[in-house]
């Protein structure tokens, strides 16, 4: 990471820590939602952005995670156990969902994962004995850790932010390891990767499993954040929304999901002042954005920086001063 990137991350971190002290409870709820959905988008960015496997199932994994935590905690299970269970369960289901990806790619894979999302939605809605159907599950408690109750909005936000930070660091570590290189190879040229000894089958399944597991962890925070979950929250809309976050932020850029989730969570709220037109304007903005910068906000920033460096005669000298990664 270059110096500019490090500064941006530093400023972003300070903002994320300071922001809730200047916000009303609803504002804190929104940035908590940002932190929660960023985790799911991080997972999707791993599957889609790095490993190149199109998935419209991430919302379903958030749902599986949320229901797992809601059901287990209401059955008297400690939150930490429920949290880990959500992760493990989604890892296993994600691994299995990876198998179709070994046979089909791109649009076809999108359809397979879309069918999976619908399947999960139907199970959540129809299996009333387990999920309480359309009535959903209410009164999901926020966890208490060693006497620290996360019941208040501010406390719960920091719990979400801390979890996001830890998961982001773990993902960063993984993408910096040979695995990250193998995932990119999988996206760019699976046939060549295979000929270089990369076991593309295992890496594909792993990309799905880890991405889904992050989706499940996001759900594990989502349930106690909103405290009421119902099947509709995890229907196709959420998967599309998560896909939007990854693409708007910059697919394949590590910090893309952070920005994408910010846009997807805050923009609709800010545009409430336009009343009935907000969805129209929101849709237009997304279309314009996709037409002019398909590589997302970070892709646009990178292009702008490159253009500036080329125009600036001191550009090459600046590049020579950069520390190699």
């Amino acid at each position: 990471m270059n110096r500019l990137g490090a500064i941006a991350v530093g400023v972003g971190t300070i903002f994320a820590i300071a922001a809730p002290f200047f916000l009303k409870p609803f504002g804190i709820y929104l940035i908590s939602m940002w932190a929660v959905l960023t985790i799911a988008a991080l997972g999707l960015n791993l599957t889609l952005g790095y490993a190149g496997q199109v998935s419209l199932a991430q919302g379903a994994f958030v749902g599986i995670g949320a229901y797992t935590v809601a059901l287990l905690t209401q059955a008297g299970c400690p939150y930490v156990v429920a949290f880990v269970s959500a992760s493990v369960l989604c890892f296993a289901i994600g691994w299995v969902l990876g198998y179709p990806a070994l046979r089909v790619q791109h649009h076809y894979l999108a359809f397979v994962t879309l069918a999976f999302t619908t399947l999960v939605f139907l199970v959540l809605r129809n299996e009333e004995w387990l999920t309480n159907g359309i009535y959903g599950i209410s009164g999901i408690a926020r966890p208490i850790f060693f006497g620290w109750s996360t019941g208040k909005a501010l406390d719960f936000y920091f719990f979400c932010l801390g979890t996001l930070a830890m998961l982001a660091l773990a993902t960063w570590w993984m993408l910096g390891s040979p695995w990250g290189r193998a995932f990119v190879a999988l996206r760019e040229n699976p046939i060549r990767a295979l000929s270089l000894g990369v076991d593309t089958r295992r890496y594909t399944l792993m990309a799905f499993a880890i991405g889904s597991s992050l989706g499940g962890l996001s759900g594990a925070l989502y349930a106690p954040l909103v405290q009421f979950i119902e099947p509709n929250s995890f229907a196709l809309g959420m998967s599309f929304n998560l896909l939007l976050m990854v693409i708007v932020g910059g697919s394949g850029y590590f910090f893309g999901p952070f920005l994408g989730a910010l846009v997807a969570v805050l923009l609709p709220e800010w545009m409430r002042i336009t009343e009935g037109y907000y969805l129209l304007i929101y849709a237009m903005l997304i279309m314009v954005m996709m037409a002019f910068c398909p590589s997302g906000v970070l892709g646009l920033a990178e292009r702008a920086l490159k253009a500036m460096a080329q125009r600036d005669p001191s550009g090459p000298a600046l590049r020579a001063g950069e520390t190699p990664p």
């Binding site: 390891s177 695995w179 040229n189 060549r192 000929s195 270089l196 000894g197 990369v198 076991d199």
Partner: protein, 249 residues
Amino acid sequence: MTAVLQVTNLRKTFGGITAVNDVSFDVHEAEILGIIGPNGSGKSTLFNCVLGQLLPNGGEVRVDGKPTTGMRPCDVNRLGVSRTFQLLQVFPQLSVRDNLILAGQEHQGSMYSRLIGRADAGLGDAARRMIEFFRLSHLADEQAAALSYGQQKLLDVAMAFMAGPRLVLLDEPAGGVNLTMLAHLRERLRAYHAERKATFVVIEHQMEFVMALCTRVLVLAEGRIIAEGAPQDIRRNPTVIEAYLGGRR
């Protein structure tokens, strides 16, 4: 002495077309075997069957005496057999250095040990030496997409060497490369061969390149081996001339 690669009665059909028809040959240690033949004679299909990209319909492939027919390409690769493709195949978004590290990393430890191990999988020095060997040092941190075609071709070949393979199959390494770059590539291949005693199989159309590099040449036409011998003999072989230039049957 067992052959590094033994191909026995290999067959591959696509619908009604027999692309590789009962082909048998051995490749010996430290040999540079050339495979030539007109377009569509089954050279690349042969490579794909040998390396597991395609499943042959019949016959057997052995590497160091070990049967590899039906094995996946990644497993064949880990036995020390690597290849280049006819069309350029580098990873455009990765840097030159990362392309090379990727080409070697899967040979280092297990998948899980690589997750917690070093970011360069302990291959930083090896990649640097390979970059120097192919004289790409000034481009080490550039994205592969930023390289010229010839430079990418060098990188492609360098990647095939990265894991220190016993056997390297090169599919038209000279294709589309200008003469200066071609001389450089040939000289580097020779140097690598001399240094590591590696075994090469080279598919090539560029006859000068084959004649200068190879110690033995196989000629393929319509999926069959029609001639075999030293490069200078092959050049005068009437069957070969007929296969290339056409003529009465």
